[in-house]
């Protein structure tokens, strides 16, 4: 990364159900990481995980934020939403498990691969969720 950038912080809004704008926050995150000269491999991992998390907000929640924090050692993505929450996180992490409606599955989402993808792209992932309140996912990506 560029040594002149000590740390940065950005926050982007995500609206539930807005498929036309879905992915815009992740696209902004990706462009920022490209601008600061982050390594291509880490940009790919962040982009994929951030996009999956953002899509989950669009698919399941009412409203949320994508927050990017980056410094020389690591990139942190926090995706925080107001929504139904995840009832059973362990079950939700099972590849192939999804609660997405049929209309969303027809679009090729909701295959139950999002959370496993996020886990495999990140170095650390924490999920906090409260039913009928919302979900917060924090992912850390370390520079190799």
């Amino acid at each position: 990364m560029n040594d002149t950038v000590a740390s940065l912080h950005f926050k982007f809004e995500v609206n539930g159900g807005d498929f036309a704008k879905a992915g815009d926050a992740s696209s902004r995150v990706k462009k920022i990481l490209q601008q600061i000269g982050a390594d291509q491999a880490i940009i790919r991992r962040v982009a994929i995980a951030c996009y999956e998390a953002e899509m989950n907000v669009v698919i399941h929640a009412r409203h949320g934020f994508v927050v990017l924090d980056a410094d020389l050692e690591k990139i942190i993505i926090v995706v925080d939403d107001e929504g139904p929450g995840i009832e059973d996180i362990e079950l939700a992490m099972t590849p192939g498990y999804s609660t997405a409606p049929d209309s969303v599955r027809e679009m090729g989402f909701g295959a139950g691969m999002g959370l496993p993808n996020m886990k495999s792209c990140s170095n650390e992932m924490e999920i906090h969720s409260r039913r009928d309140v919302g979900t917060t996912i924090r992912m850390v990506f370390e520079n190799a």
């Binding site: 999956e52 989402f109 691969m113 999002g114």
Partner: protein
């Protein structure tokens, strides 16, 4: 292999082609977006039967070389607009997804 060669070989109909002078590293065929996100390589050409705007978002995230909508399916209007905005090459073809994947493979492209 250049995108121009692929477009010509498969007789693809360009919907958005900012440049065909793009190196294509590999190929992928899938209608599951998470599968594409997990497996398609940067610089891949992606063949799908999906037609909605989010396929362009996936292409942007992965720096894909282009997207082919197979099986005579027309893209949504906002898909085309987004492809133009993001400079993502977008093609359509009457050829089935199976045959598009087969032809890409025949040209020497692999998914890995």
């Amino acid at each position: 292999m250049l995108l121009a060669n692929i477009a010509q070989n498969l007789n693809l109909n360009p919907i958005n082609e900012p440049s065909a002078d793009v190196e294509v590293t590999s190929g992928y065929a899938s209608d599951l977006l998470s599968d594409v996100l997990a497996k398609a390589k940067n610089g891949a050409i992606w063949a799908t039967n999906q037609k909605h705007i989010n396929i362009i978002g996936v292409a942007v995230m992965l720096n894909l070389a282009g997207v082919i909508i197979a099986g005579g399916i027309e893209p949504d209007e906002n898909t085309v607009a987004k492809a133009r905005e993001e400079n993502i090459p977008l093609y359509i073809t009457e050829t089935s997804l199976f045959d598009v994947a087969g032809k890409l493979y025949e040209l020497g492209l692999r998914s890995t």
